[in-house]
């Protein structure tokens, strides 16, 4: 496949994504479609709630990033470890987090998975292998390497995957981790969701390296660049990387090209990019790409419409649930400082 350029005005996937001929069945693709629509609708609902003042702080949505999360979840085992960034709603939902509890957490309600203490930037559920989203750029990456080390030392088959952005690459801790993980052949996957921007700054402004996946090669690591908007391509790349990890062949670095269709965070005025750029990227976004794929598989539009209607209902119910969830008791402010 021809590699798209990393310029922000280049499409995030080559227009000629080869339709059909993939490895996934129509059934599997439909399941993925449902999850992608769910993530999209949860994120859109959260943005509406934020606009009406119900969400404070910094909330980063993953509209446009769904491909990486859904492809990953289908490729990994449910007990594989995952760490990610503050932009982590999509990974968590794809791994099975209940939208009710996710939205309740973002709203700071008692039914949130962390009782409202963590909020949008700190999605977590160890029972789903979700070992924490992080507010500090880069911090979650050595954690995943530590989980891979732990699995290896305990002779387990579990592997770890960690998600980070293009902007995170330039933190020193990333490179410290790449080197150790490669040398120790840790069973893990580094997944860079390259959406071309580090907050409001396009990556070309702060680095002279335009091909991020090449960094990992310098550490002797297997490394690929893929179309991160193509859920099937993500699925394949993560599947291969997981096989390598479980076979003791060490870590794999995957750079998934994508594009963030929403602002960096709720309330972002997006003065740093043009609406033409965003419109152009809409042609290639994961849902559009998957819809085309499903149409090529002969799926009727009415079937997709039915899925969307079903998801719409689920998300509406989740929003209602979350908004009606009680505020946490003030005493909760003082618990969980130390483990008992």
């Amino acid at each position: 496949m021809e590699q798209p350029s990393l310029r922000t005005d280049a499409p995030s996937s080559s227009a000629a994504t080869d339709l059909g001929g993939g490895v996934l069945s129509t059934e599997q693709l439909l399941t993925m479609y449902r999850m992608m629509v769910l993530i999209r609708r949860v994120e859109e609902s959260l943005l509406e709630l934020a606009e009406s003042g119900k969400i404070g702080g910094a909330m980063h949505t993953a509209i446009g990033h769904e491909g990486s999360a859904v492809g990953m979840a289908a490729a990994l085992r449910p007990d594989d470890y995952l760490t990610c960034t503050y932009r982590g709603h999509h990974h968590s939902l794809a791994r099975g987090m209940d939208p009710k509890r996710a939205i309740a957490e973002v709203l700071g309600r008692s039914d949130g998975f962390a009782g409202g203490k963590g909020g949008s930037m700190h999605f977590v559920d160890p029972s789903l292998g979700l070992m924490g989203a992080n507010g500090i750029v880069g911090a979650q990456v050595p954690h995943a390497a530590g989980m891979a080390l732990s699995s290896k030392l305990q002779n387990q088959e579990r592997i770890a995957i960690t998600f980070f952005g293009d902007g995170a690459i330039y933190q020193g801790v990333m490179h410290e981790t790449f080197n150790i993980a490669s040398k120790w052949k840790l069973p893990m996957i580094f997944y860079c969701e390259n959406n071309r921007y580090s907050e409001m700054t396009p990556i070309a402004r702060t680095s002279s390296v335009s091909e991020i996946y090449l960094f990992a090669r310098a550490y002797g690591m297997e490394s690929v660049q893929i179309d991160g908007n193509d859920v099937e391509e993500v699925y394949l790349a993560v599947t291969r990387a997981a096989e390598r990890a479980r076979a003791g062949e060490g870590p794999t670095f995957i750079e998934g090209l994508t594009y963030r269709l929403s602002g960096h965070m709720a309330g972002d005025l997006e003065t740093y990019r043009t609406s033409e750029e965003i419109e152009m990227q809409r042609q290639y976004e994961p849902l559009v790409a998957l819809t085309k794929r499903l149409q090529a598989h002969g799926v009727a539009d009415a079937d997709l419409e039915a899925i969307r209607a079903e998801v719409e209902k689920e998300v509406e119910e989740a929003v209602d649930f979350a908004q009606n969830s009680p505020w946490p008791d003030k005493a909760q402010a003082y618990t969980d400082v130390y483990a008992l």
Partner: protein, 327 residues
């Protein structure tokens, strides 16, 4: 005088110093073309260009260390940390390097570096984006720490910070950014010297010493206590935490006989603990009642609104503490 926002005052301090002194430059994440996540460095890129306003990658340890190197060789960097919490990523460079450089080298090298950025709670940013960090910095000799509560003090203290030959931490509380206050006309050159506390409200019943956003909370508390109970407290804005102006505080306690130190960060091992310890060492006879401190509960800041409100030691907690001391 004119009215400006706090953001404008901080912005003007950098702008004016960059105009006055070509060795001053600004760097940090999104500070250049975008003008800063909180728009505090806006327009600087237009006026001074990319050689003096540097957009960095997310590499706090790296660019902090580079700022130190530049400061040791004739420049005066002003580094923005997007959230003050991120100082921890650059902690070795700040504390083991910048703070100790002058001492370790027997005075041969110095680091005229300003680190600035926003801190504090109140906007539901949660545990890693809401901290107040002054006591961590105050623990290390060699670095000065200041916090402005008004636009006037912000411009004056930041100007003094940039001109200081040492590393200085300049703290901007996120709740202060859109507050407004008097600022001298643009052509007036002034500094607020370090080590000078400011009596922001006179009173006779109790001395309340604080800094940063809790100054505004204390002033509101003072007005309500006056209206509701006829209690008249004196509010001192420390402004400078290192060096600390105990003289002004003790002079006030000589009048009121009572000292309450307040800050948003946790009360244990905080500046309040320091101030209270010092009055018992230096001037215990001034006290008519035990000196006290009020800070945040010993927890991280939670996201949920009622939980965040519960732990932040703002107006209602301040009023309660004052009433308890005067009972």
């Amino acid at each position: 005088m004119r009215k400006t926002t706090y953001i404008q005052a901080v912005n003007e301090a950098m702008r004016d110093e960059m105009r006055r002194d070509p060795s001053v430059f600004v760097m940090g994440e999104d500070v250049g073309y975008y003008g800063g996540l909180f728009r505090v460095t806006r327009n600087l890129m237009d006026e001074f260009g990319p050689t003096r306003v540097l957009d960095t990658p997310i590499s706090e340890q790296g660019f902090m260390g580079m700022a130190i190197g530049a400061a040791m060789t004739g420049l005066r960097p002003v580094v923005e940390l997007m959230y003050m919490d991120f100082f921890m990523v650059a902690a070795d460079q700040i504390f083991n390097q910048a703070a100790k450089m002058h001492y370790m080298t027997g005075g041969l090298l110095n680091v005229p570096l300003t680190i600035r950025g926003q801190h504090g709670g109140g906007k539901r940013y949660g545990s890693q984006h809401s901290q107040s960090v002054e006591s961590s910095f105050a623990q290390f000799p060699g670095i000065k720490v200041v916090a402005a509560a008004t636009p006037y003090d912000a411009k004056g203290l930041l100007t003094a910070a940039i001109r200081d030959p040492n590393p200085v931490l300049f703290l901007e509380h996120k709740m202060l950014y859109f507050t407004r206050g008097d600022l001298p006309e643009a052509d007036v050159d002034y500094v607020v010297p370090f080590g000078q506390a400011d009596v922001k409200r006179e009173g006779k019943d109790l001395t309340l010493a604080t800094f940063s956003f809790t100054v505004l909370q204390a002033l509101e508390a003072a007005e309500e206590l006056k209206a509701e109970q006829g209690i008249d407290i004196e509010v001192i804005d420390l402004r400078s935490i290192v060096p600390l102006d105990t003289e002004t505080v003790w002079a006030s306690v000589a009048k009121t006989g009572r000292l309450l130190a307040v800050h948003e960060s946790q009360s244990n091992c905080g500046i309040g603990a320091e101030l209270v310890a010092r009055i018992y060492e230096e001037a215990p006879d001034l006290l008519k009642a035990p000196a006290r401190r009020l800070g945040m509960a010993p927890v991280s800041i939670p996201v949920s609104k009622p939980l965040e409100e519960e732990v932040l030691p703002w107006k209602d907690n301040i009023k309660a503490a004052v009433l308890e001391m005067l009972r």
